[in-house]
């Protein structure tokens, strides 16, 4: 917590390195063509509005929220997995007590959603939504089933690789992140325009979870690790005084 008067310049959150984030307009992902802004984004220096953000308490969570296999009367169909990792910032510091929300398709690649018309079965024992909070070392853990791949209509014979959606807040308005976690060895990754929208090949690979013996539970579930990095703080407020974009 800063003890300086809030009227002094505030240190913002580090801007992302070129190529690590997707381009907003990426025509191979057809829906971007009419939805991406055509004007450049206006650079906003950090103020109190951007370095603060919503704070959620553990009161918003229920005991089964992190275990997607225990939210209904029966067991969901599919291969049980444990997905865990740490949430860190770009300075390597753990992001503690922050809300993590996930959602995913069932084992057959189907969402229980009115707009999902894929001809695959829904599972009455699987909703596919979970949430948790990171602990004092930035760790989180979900128990779920491995989601299925599914077709979509972006282009001929388009299939999404298996994925889990992640939503995180971090400490500030500037640190909000929504992403998707993928699985190692998925042959669809190279053909997926959401993945290939990220210019930097190394950044793409960081969205792929890693199989992990340590979190694998004998006779029960395979473990996958997925660390998530949020923007970290600038050490100085210098960046806040870039000239305005014309």
């Amino acid at each position: 917590m800063s003890t300086k008067p809030a009227t002094t310049p505030v240190a913002g959150y580090r801007r992302n390195d070129r190529g690590t984030q997707p381009d907003l307009l990426y025509p191979p992902y057809a829906s971007t063509v009419k939805r991406a802004p055509s004007h450049p984004l206006v650079l906003l220096p950090a103020s109190l509005s951007e370095v603060t953000g919503p704070v959620f308490g553990f009161d918003v969570l229920k005991a089964t929220d992190h275990d997607l296999t225990k939210q209904h009367a029966g067991d969901p169909i599919g291969e049980r997995i444990v997905v865990s990792g740490r949430v860190l910032d770009t300075n390597g510091r753990p992001v503690t007590n922050t809300l993590v929300e996930v959602w995913q398709a069932n084992a057959a690649g189907r969402y229980p959603h009115q707009r999902d018309q894929h001809n695959a079965p829904t599972d009455p024992n699987f909703t596919g939504a979970g949430r948790t909070q990171t602990d004092s070392e930035g760790r989180y853990r979900f128990v779920t089933i491995r989601p299925g791949e599914y077709p979509w209509r972006n282009h001929y014979n388009a299939w999404r690789p298996a994925h889990i959606h992640f939503s995180l807040f971090g400490p500030a308005f500037s640190t909000r992140l929504v992403t998707q976690m993928y699985f190692p060895g998925d042959p669809l990754l190279d053909y997926d325009p959401m993945v290939t929208s990220i210019p930097d090949e190394r950044a793409r690979r960081r969205l792929v979870s890693v199989f992990d013996w340590e979190t694998t539970i004998p006779e029960q579930a395979l473990g996958y690790k997925f660390d998530i990095i949020l923007r970290g703080r600038d050490e100085t407020p210098m960046e806040n005084y870039l000239p305005a974009r014309s």
């Binding site: 917590m1 800063s2 003890t3 008067p5 809030a6 009227t7 310049p9 580090r14 992302n16 390195d17 690590t20 907003l24 992902y29 829906s31 971007t32 009419k34 939805r35 802004p37 004007h39 206006v42 650079l43 906003l44 220096p45 103020s47 109190l48 509005s49 951007e50 370095v51 603060t52 919503p54 704070v55 918003v60 770009t90 300075n91 390597g92 996930v102 959602w103 398709a105 969402y111 959603h113 707009r115 596919g128 939504a129 949430r131 959606h165 308005f173 500037s174 992140l177 929504v178 998707q180 190394r202 950044a203 793409r204 960081r206 969205l207 990095i229 949020l230 970290g232 806040n240 005084y241």
Partner: protein, 189 residues
């Protein structure tokens, strides 16, 4: 040590499954002071078609101009029931609605007080990273000296200012045009 921020990906079309549990379209309540307002708007794409699968989040200070966040240490009142966060999906007509209070002023660039504003994030299928914008209030004299509005080209500033709705007192309209004529200003935050 310097790590790279995890890449953003779209929320996709089924975002409701994971995100609507935390819907909060009404930030007002007992003990929360300030002028109650409703803000509604339609999100439209480059063809002017309503975006029916978007999610809007807002973040704002309370009526005294204080954020419910440990970093805001100014000696201003906090209100127990006011978290300052709202989340609402767009409906079948592409409309979203919030009921909230007009926030007070908070300091900005160079120590200049910013005009009252609500910070906005927008998520949707076809948006590979969420968009940041702001809602300002009509007929507020502070808009003229706001350091953020000053960074925006004069002919685009009006896209950030909500408008009164005729016949509906305390109701404001703030539409989001993703692309094309009247395109809303989005920020690199």
């Amino acid at each position: 040590m310097s790590l790279q921020t995890t890449s953003s990906q779209t929320v996709g079309p089924y975002l409701h499954i994971g995100l609507t549990w935390l819907i909060n379209a009404d930030l007002t309540g007992p003990g929360i002071t300030g002028d109650t307002i409703t803000i509604e708007g339609c999100i439209t794409d480059g063809d002017g078609k309503p975006v029916t699968d978007a999610l809007v989040e807002i973040w704002q200070a309370n009526a005294a101009g204080r954020y419910a966040h440990p970093e805001d240490t100014r000696n201003l009142p906090l209100e127990a029931g006011f978290r300052g966060f709202g989340r609402a999906p767009t409906d079948a007509a592409g409309m979203f609605r919030f009921t909230t209070i007009k926030p007070g002023r908070v300091p900005g660039e160079g120590g200049v007080l910013q005009a009252p504003h609500i910070n906005v994030t927008i998520f949707m299928r076809g948006m590979l990273a969420h968009l940041f914008s702001r809602i300002y209030f009509p007929d507020d004299s502070a808009n003229a000296t706001d350091p953020v509005l000053a960074r925006v080209a004069a002919d685009r500033r009006s896209t950030l200012v909500a408008q009164p709705i005729a016949g509906k007192p305390s109701a404001l309209e703030w539409n989001v045009r993703l692309q094309g004529a009247g395109e809303t200003v989005f920020f690199d935050v």
